[in-house]
Symmetry: C2
Subunit: 185 residues, 2 copies
Amino acid sequence: MDDRSISHKRNSKRRGLVIVNTGEGKGKTTAALGVLLRAWGRGFKICVIQFMKAETGRWGEVRAAEKLKIEWHKSGGGFTWRSDEMDESTARTRHGWTLAQEKIASGGYDLILLDEFTYPLHFDWLDTAEVVAWLKANKPPDLHLVITGRYAPQPLIDYADLVTEMRKIKHPLDQGIKGQRGIEF
Amino acid sequence: MDDRSISHKRNSKRRGLVIVNTGEGKGKTTAALGVLLRAWGRGFKICVIQFMKAETGRWGEVRAAEKLKIEWHKSGGGFTWRSDEMDESTARTRHGWTLAQEKIASGGYDLILLDEFTYPLHFDWLDTAEVVAWLKANKPPDLHLVITGRYAPQPLIDYADLVTEMRKIKHPLDQGIKGQRGIEF
């Protein structure tokens, strides 16, 4: 446990926001990382659960989180569209959601990020109505919850306080420029 | 000077991206902060110049940058629309742009963020054509440059590699919920 979690005073008057970053463009996870950085700057207690990214990845954000001592869980097995790997994706997702439920219900955090959590909802690996009902019943009122990913289902959008769509105007891949380390991952 | 700038090896093959986050929605600066966090996680040498935010602000991101020892300059005097303060805004902007030119041309950075730099261009406090021409001539090829703000002028979009529009779908202010510390600032 680091000193931030001890020194931080919980603000009972705070309204915990449900924030959804969705859309086809870049910047969904990236903007969530920016929120994380701000929250960390304020001494917030933070937990991140990644639902889709490969477990073996040593992305820039994972390296940063390690240095910042931000709690970071990877439940995802990478993007999988092959039907023979679907069962594993479902199992990993359920494990991630169980972990998320524990962390959310614990009341021990100021900000929880469920990264790429829209995908298991979109693909029906989890039931959106059940997830939203659970959040409504169990999310502490002062907890900020950030959810990222394309195809945010409408019930999640209805539940959220702040929804932003990231829309691509121009992308380097269109010009044959590959993803840049430290910028896009 | 911290150890990251010493240990970091410059990558001559890297393609420095020009990234613009624009649009009416939330997340422009926030996504830029996420890029910063990734880049910091990779040990990149970073410089931030804020063009519009109030100098006296002790925002979450400024607190975080101090802790991370990220170089951070505030040239802005806050959003000003009053005509009697316009001259001061212009002067501050020119000071900020001169500083940005020094930092960019120095070749000493991996990533430079010009936060809310679109506004001085939009309001013609700086000449967009001149700024873009200067960047084309002077930006080191391996330097990543991130620019945020609404109303990104077309010549800047034409020059950029990656342009994302943040579009508001739903905002807590619409429901009378005020901005939350550690999340939105």
